[in-house]
Structures are given as C-alpha cells and as structure tokens.
C-alpha cells in the first residue's frame, strides 16, 4: 500500500505532526508497526494499541484504532485486562526501555510467563527521553546521562534474553536502520499466537546521542548498522567477536499454551460438567 493510503487508513492525520524531536527514530517504529498491521490485514475496529508513559507512549495517539495511553510502566497490565476480557481483539503494546524494563519490568516478566497473546514492541533508545535524558536499565555501562554525569555505573541487561527466560514464545530484535526486517519481525510477532516481543533499537539524538558524542541522527543510524549482527551471522562468530555488538532478527520461537485459550478451556469444561 502506498504511504498516503497507509497514512489515511491507519493514522489520525489531524494529530500530525508528531511531538517527537527532529531526527528521532520513533516515527520509523510507528511506521513499521502500521505496515506490519497492514501486512497481517488486522481489522482496525478489532485492534487495540496500548502504551505507557514516555516518548513511546505517545505513539498510539497517532494511530486510528482503539488506543489506550496508560500509566507509567503499566501498559502490559492494562493490555492483559483488555485481552482476557475480550480475547478476539488484537492487542499491541508499544513501550519504551524505561517504561518496560524499569517501572514495568515485573509486568513484562509476568506477561511473558503467562504467554498471553499480546504483541509488545519496545522503543529502546537507551535513555529516558521525555524527562530529558536520565539513564534507563538499558543505558550501557559508563555512558552519560543527566543522572549519570560521571558515567553510568549500572549494568544494562538484555531484555530479549529476559523475555525468553520468562516464557515469551516469540522474541526478536530489530533496528530502525533495518526497516524492512523490522516490519517483518513485527508482522511475525502479530501473527504469532502467544506473547510476542520485539525490541527495537532506535536513537535519541537529543538526549542520548548529543551527551554521548554520537553525532547526529544519521550518525546514530550508522552506528546501528555497524553494530547490528544478523542472527545467522552471529551464530558463526566466536563470543569475543560479538563484544559490543547486538544480534538482530528472530531470536527465539517456541510453542506453548496461550493464556486466554487456556482460560476458555476451563470455561468450556465447566459448562460441560
């Protein structure tokens, strides 16, 4: 579908232009989510897009679906209520690295553990952008942030490994540089029955890039290109060659009972008894 048609069909044109800074990668994720929804031919009237707080939290407001901008970190908990109450709906959660990995970390673990059929897209720009540049659980060690003026002594963690370990059944990572791959990964996540998780490496030139001398938005996208290793290539590399790099593509896929279907089985069983 041509861009104009996509925009008209799936976005609230009257809400544009968006509030994100010039050069921000979030718009590319928003565009990729919309293209993935279109690829999977979801019924817009049966699709809910749910977010928390932060720059990522504003994305659903531009999308022409039932959209819910919740409290900080709680998008997955609200989404669990929506999905369990009305399982026929497609529920997509858009969240950020602070929203999802810090204040919402517990909800992430348990949504993955339940394998509830939600598609979660994390806008990972390594920083709290909306509050102007504090470190998040995904800010790399010794990078600078307004709350880490001498370098971040926290260790960051790998959300994809976390979700896989917690029981998520589709886990992938993409970047806003590799847009075609990203659309495919999100589309696969939507098609997958169970908890799907797509971490997207994006860039915040304003608060992360500038402070850490990473150049402008184009430089930061080049950084993504240079540091991303496709999953097949990564499998052939020794661990020391992956030092400082990150793996992109489909990282984990498994089959498992989906939560709302399991619950329906109990309802059906009780009805028969």
């Amino acid at each position: 579908m041509a861009m104009k048609e996509l925009l008209t069909k799936y976005t609230r044109m009257d809400k544009l232009p968006h509030i994100w800074c010039p050069g921000c990668g979030h718009g590319i994720i928003l565009g990729s989510v919309i293209r993935a929804i279109d690829r999977q031919k979801l019924d817009p009237g049966k699709t809910s897009v749910i977010s928390g707080i932060g720059c990522s939290g504003r994305a659903p407001g531009y999308m022409k679906f039932d959209t819910l901008h919740t409290t900080h970190g709680r998008a997955l908990a609200f989404a669990t209520g929506v999905k369990l109450a009305r399982p026929e709906l497609n529920v997509i959660v858009l969240t950020g690295d602070g929203d999802c990995a810090a204040i919402g970390g517990n909800h992430l673990i348990h949504a993955a553990r339940r394998n509830i059929d939600l598609t979660t897209v994390v806008f990972n720009n390594y920083i709290y952008g909306m509050t102007s540049g504090q470190y998040s659980p995904l800010t790399p060690h010794m990078k600078l942030a307004t709350t880490a003026p001498y370098g971040n002594i926290d260790q960051s963690f790998d959300l994809c490994n976390l979700v896989t370990a917690a029981g998520g059944t589709y886990v992938a990572r993409g970047t806003v540089y590799h847009t075609q791959m990203l659309i495919g990964l999100i589309a696969e996540g939507i098609a997958h029955k169970g908890f799907s998780f797509i971490e997207v490496i994006t860039h915040c030139p304003t608060y992360y890039g500038r402070r850490n001398r990473m150049g402008d938005a184009v430089d930061m996208m080049n950084w993504q290109k240079e540091h991303a290793v496709p999953v097949k290539a990564a499998a052939k590399l020794p661990p020391e060659k992956l030092e400082g790099k990150f793996v992109i593509g489909e990282l984990h896929r498994s089959e498992g009972p989906e939560y709302t279907e399991e619950y329906q089985r109990i309802i059906d069983r009780l009805e028969r008894e």
Binding site: R74, F78, A79, T80
Partner: protein
C-alpha cells in the same frame, strides 16, 4: 422449603461481596492475595468461569487495578478487592480510572495500619485514603457496609454507581464485616436494580468519547466495537485527545467532580435511628455503628435521648445529614476505629451548632457499646 419462603444463608461479609458482585453482573475480576480480603478473590476464582466470566491473579496490586480498567474498557463489569497496603498500591490506577472515566469497583477490606500493621485486625483508618488516596482533584464514591447483608447489597450498589457515573467506586469494608458470619437473604431476580453504562447512540464518526454537559457523564463505547477512540490519563478535551491547555484541565476536573456532586440524591445513603427527639447524636459507620446502636438503646433505657446517624455513603460525605443533626442536638459523639477521620468531616459540618466529641480505638479491637455509653454519660 416452599417457593415463597425466604431462604437465609450463613456467610461472611467477603463471601456476601462475591454474591453481590455476581448478582450485579460482574464478568471480570483481577486481584492479588492479601489478608483480610483474599476470600473475595478465592470466591470469584471459583465462580466466575462458571458464568463465563474471567478471573486473573495478577503479579501485583498495581497490575490488578490496571487489568480491571483495561477489561472495563471492553465493556466488562470489573472489580478488584484488596486491603491496606494493597489499597495504597492501587491508588495510581484508581486515579487513571477516575480521570478517564472507567467504571469499576474497588473493594478495600480495611485492616490495621500503617504499613503492614496488624494484618488480621480491623480498622477504619482508610476513610481519608478512600477520598484522597490518588493525587489530584478527582471524584470519589465510597460505601461502608455495617453487616454481611449490606456487603451484598452495597456491592450491587457499587457496581450500579460505577456504571452510572463512569467512575471507580470504593466499597470500604473492614476486617470485622469481611470475616464476620451472619445469616443473610440472597435477593431474587427483580428484587434488586441493575444499571449499565450508557452506550453511544451515534456513529463512530460522530462519537465524542468525552463529550458531555459540564456536570454530565459521557456515553462509553467498548473497545472493539469499531469506535476507534483514544483514552489517556493526560488532560483531554471532549475528543479524548490531549491538547495541553489549562482551560481543558479546568473543564475536565470540574466536570469529573461535578458529575458526582450534582447528583448527590442518587448517591447518598444515610441511616438515621431515633433522631426525632435526640439531644445527643452518635455518628458511626460500619461495624462501629452496630455498637453505637446498642449504646443508643442502653442510653435511652437510662432516659438519655440519643440518636444515630450512620453514613452508608461515606464519600461524598453526607454533609446535609450532619448539618441537620448538629442543628437538632447539643452534642455529637463520633466513635471510630482510627484517631479521628470521620470526626474531621463531622466537625466541619457541625458548624459549631453542636459540640463534637471523639471516641477512638487503635488497639485492633472494636469499640464496645459500653465504651460508647460511658462517653454518652460523660458528654450529656
């Protein structure tokens, strides 16, 4: 037993709450285990799937309140139940539901605090938290049952008010009412009223999700019904979208509060006992009102003209009932299981027309009729 005979059943207040919720048409419950409210979650875990409803034990109290709000947006009648520390944790998303006008019921079986406190002991110390627990100006409706029977009927009322006013309604129970067992009558169909939220009558194109008169309640579309609208905890205009204008904040906050405060006749419930000739009034809620009723009888036997005003609706506070009582009597005694919360409202509304005397216990025991009688004798 004949068909027309009344069937009394023995159950606890928490169990009666479950029955009331089912009669009200609950189809979604999310909760987290916490004493002394857990029996409500346990009861609904067993009963809900039998009526096609959904139960989920979430990872924490915050998440259960969030799931309840999410479920309600799809059209479900949704409830959560908690106690003390759990009620503190729910405040964030109670505020969200108030701001975004999501109907839901929050049961708080009050327990002794602060903090972990005495988990199996009663208290009435969450009265102010039920009003002001979440940040910002917002509407609050809270009901306080004084018996197991009332736990059932007020649960139905709580759902009805939530649906009618599109706001969270708090059922402020306590450990005594929650765990006490009494014989109650489960009402039959037709013996209670069920209210449902107003749905939009216009097409999705014409739908203004937050369009209402300055004291009105907007009709609510279900997520998934094709309305494709936006819900945010940011200050929003009638379209549901934020614009960042202070004037929108002024309009929304006033409307949220006014939609409740302009219809007090539909919300306020007060029981008055022997107030006609009273010279001294007791103002008591929940289980304390039971001790107060007994004290009233004992005092009248001694020729002291005592009456009782029992707010069943504690929020909005029944100001007119207290104002009228204060004009009638010389003195008011406010016995409560805290260090003085209802008393603050009574003092404010007495307007100096009657002296207000406090009687407080915070030793995990119910105030006895004798203690109230002694206070009556001291004050009269």
């Amino acid at each position: 037993m004949g068909k027309n005979e009344i069937e009394a059943v023995l159950m606890s207040g928490n169990e009666a709450c479950v029955e009331g919720a089912l009669l009200a048409g609950i189809n979604f419950f999310a909760g987290y285990p916490i004493t002394p409210s857990t029996e409500i979650a346990e009861g609904l875990a067993e009963r809900l799937p039998r009526v096609g409803g959904k139960f989920i034990q979430m990872e924490d109290e915050i998440a259960s309140m969030a799931a309840v709000a999410g479920a309600s947006l799809t059209g479900a009648k949704a409830m959560t139940a908690t106690s003390g520390p759990g009620f503190s944790l729910k405040q964030e998303n109670i505020g969200f539901a108030a701001a975004t006008e999501i109907p839901c019921v929050v049961v708080n079986v009050q327990r002794f605090g602060p903090s972990t406190g005495l988990p199996t002991s009663p208290s009435q110390a969450d009265i102010m938290q039920a009003r002001w627990g979440t940040h910002g100006d917002h509407p609050a409706i809270a009901l306080m049952p004084a018996s197991v029977q009332e736990s059932l009927t007020l649960t139905i009322t709580a759902f009805n008010l939530a649906e009618e006013f599109r706001t969270p309604v708090i059922l402020l129970m306590d450990e005594i009412i929650g765990h006490m067992r009494e014989g109650i009558v489960i009402p039959r169909k037709g013996e209670y009223v069920i209210k449902n939220r107003a749905k939009p009558t216009v097409s999705p194109k014409e739908y203004l999700p937050y369009g209402a008169e300055p004291d009105g309640v907007p009709p609510m579309a279900n997520f998934g019904d094709g309305y494709r609208y936006h819900v945010t905890g940011l200050i929003h205009d009638e379209t549901g979208f934020p614009r960042g204008r202070g004037s929108d904040g002024d309009y929304l906050v006033r409307r949220l509060v006014n939609k409740v405060m302009s219809r007090l006749d539909q919300i306020l419930m007060v029981e008055e006992v022997e107030m006609e000739d009273a010279r001294l009034a007791l103002v008591a809620c929940g289980p304390v009102a039971r001790s107060a009723k007994r004290a009233l009888i004992l005092a009248r036997e001694q020729g002291i003209k005592v009456g009782l005003v029992r707010p069943i609706t504690i929020w909005p506070f029944p100001e007119e009932a207290i104002k009228a009582a204060a004009q009638k009597v010389d003195a008011i005694i406010v016995p409560e299981l805290n260090l003085g919360q209802i008393a603050l409202e009574v003092e404010r509304n007495a307007c100096g027309n009657a002296t207000v005397h406090r009687l407080n216990r915070v030793d995990a025991e119910l105030i006895t009729p004798d203690e109230i009688l002694a206070k009556i004798q001291e004050v009269k």
